[in-house]
């Protein structure tokens, strides 16, 4: 082999060894931040089916328990669950959705939602309690109860929502739902 040929071969070997270094991928880490997922919506359901006689006040009461454990149970490795929205939904035919309600809903006995002559149609379709509606308001105390129940250290994640209402109709055939929306924080891998 000539001197030029040796140089040529040496160059080829040197670059052959060096160039693949450029192909190495560095600095890649996965899952260093917690993963945030939507929790399944927890729902309190209040079906109302009543024909109230004339000699009684057109009033009714509802109550339902919501087990928030399910939000934690849907995932493994959950660090925390944070509540970020609560909606109210009314379902019924067009006549029933014109019914107006006055009353309130408590959560574990703490005042939460207040209705003052509010038509059911306000909550059809589903509407956040944080969105303004005439005659409707919420109490921060109720929010605190939900937050406390969702806390990682909570030992009782079952809350009870109860409501007492007066209606402007004696024929009541509708349902109401309160839905709790959460974010689930799942621990980082690293």
């Amino acid at each position: 082999m000539t001197t030029g040929g040796m140089k040529d071969l040496a160059l080829r070997m040197a670059f052959g060894a060096l160039l693949p270094v450029a192909l190495v991928l560095v600095g890649c880490e996965f899952g260093t931040n917690p993963l945030i997922l939507d929790g399944s919506a927890s729902t309190a359901k209040f079906p109302v089916e009543a024909e109230i006689p004339l000699f009684l006040q057109p009033a009714f009461s509802v109550s339902d328990s919501v087990d928030l454990n399910g939000i934690y149970d849907d995932f493994t490795g959950v660090d925390s669950v944070k509540f970020y929205n609560l909606t109210f939904l009314s379902e019924g035919d067009s006549v029933n959705l014109t019914i107006r309600l006055t009353g309130s809903i408590t959560v574990d006995g703490v005042p939460f939602l207040n209705f003052n002559d509010v038509p059911l149609s306000v909550f059809s379709p589903e509407r956040s309690i944080f969105t303004y509606a005439p005659g409707f308001s919420y109490d921060a105390g109720g929010l605190a109860v939900i937050r406390a129940a969702l806390a990682p250290q909570s030992t009782d994640r079952v809350i009870r929502m109860s409501g007492d209402f007066q209606a402007d109709s004696r024929s009541l055939h509708f349902s109401m739902q309160a839905r709790i929306y959460t974010q689930v924080f799942i621990g980082a891998v690293n």
């Binding site: 991928l25 931040n33 939507d38 919506a41 944080f130 974010q183």
Partner: protein, 303 residues
């Protein structure tokens, strides 16, 4: 933890066929489909867009190298191409719209390649945090096998083919691509450089969930001195990615079908690079600058 595993599984796939197996085995225990079911918000598109852009750019990289097309006679090379999108600030952030009941003004937050997601505060003191970034990297890479055979009338054929069978919970996937490159400088004797035009089409499928289609047209120039080669040019490329799955998360109804259609923002890319042709061994490295920047290294064997 299954969601994280699945998302990482997808990402491992996107990070390259070569590394998909071991990483997928580390993180995967549930089907990819389950992970996608959790990707529900309207912001998913922006969150994943940098990965899609990078995937498209990587897929369209490393196709054209040697300028000695017309004069080289018969040749056949088997190549492994490693390409990586450089991850900068534009790839780490996007603008997302908070959900109700928060102010719907878009906020700047992390993409999947970013850091901590932005937290917004709403009425009643409620807070919503956008998804955190899940990959911390400076390079988003892809490995691709390729066979180049030529030449016939100054034309060479380029083929990409890889099939990865379903392994555990990683769905089966396949990559098929073909194209051609033709010397136009052969029609202009005396030109001090080689000029070629090329076209390539490829498709990649991941189970029944992800379908990728990429196309590009190129105009490349190059010349060789001794064992060294320099080349450069421009290519027009497009990549579309369709994701189809059944969504079962927040706000879904039974059997909710979700179809996401992504188109990459990389349209024109300028490429420059150099290579060395050893004895039966071919090494090339180049950089492509467009909507994103991609570096590519190619190791080929053949003649």
């Amino acid at each position: 933890m299954k969601i994280r595993r699945i998302i990482l599984n997808i990402l491992c796939f996107l990070l390259g066929l070569a590394v998909m197996g071991p990483l997928g085995h580390l993180f995967a225990q549930d089907p990819v489909t389950d992970a996608l079911r959790q990707l529900s918000s309207e912001n998913v598109r922006g969150y994943l867009q940098p990965v899609i852009d990078g995937f498209g750019a990587n897929l369209n990289s490393g196709l054209y190298h040697s300028p000695r097309l017309a004069e080289g006679g018969f040749h056949a090379r088997l190549e492994v191409i490693g390409s990586g999108m450089l991850i900068g600030e534009p790839e780490r952030f996007y603008h997302a719209t908070p959900p109700e009941p928060f102010d719907r003004t878009p906020v700047r937050t992390a993409t999947i390649l970013g850091g901590t997601g932005t937290t917004v505060t709403g009425p009643g003191g409620v807070e919503y945090q956008f998804q955190n970034g899940q990959i911390q990297a400076d390079l988003f890479g892809l490995g691709t096998p390729q066979l180049t055979v030529g030449n016939l009338f100054g034309t060479e054929a380029i083929v990409r083919y890889a099939v990865v069978p379903s392994v555990k919970d990683i769905p089966n996937s396949s990559l098929v691509g073909f194209g051609a490159r033709h010397s136009i400088s052969q029609y202009f004797p005396g030109l001090p450089f080689e000029a070629t035009v090329g076209a390539f089409w490829q498709t990649l499928k991941v189970g029944d969930i992800i379908g990728v289609s990429a196309r590009n047209l190129s105009l490349m120039f190059g010349t060789s001195v001794s064992l060294f080669t320099v080349y450069g040019g421009v290519q027009h490329e497009s990549t579309v990615i369709d994701v189809n799955y059944t969504y079962s998360g927040y706000g879904s109804t039974p059997g909710s079908k979700v179809s996401l259609h992504y188109a990459t923002d990389n349209v024109l890319r300028w490429t420059t690079g150099f290579g060395i042709n050893l004895i039966g061994l071919h090494l090339y490295t180049d950089i492509g600058v467009g909507r994103v920047t991609v570096v590519t290294g190619t190791l080929g064997v053949g003649f």
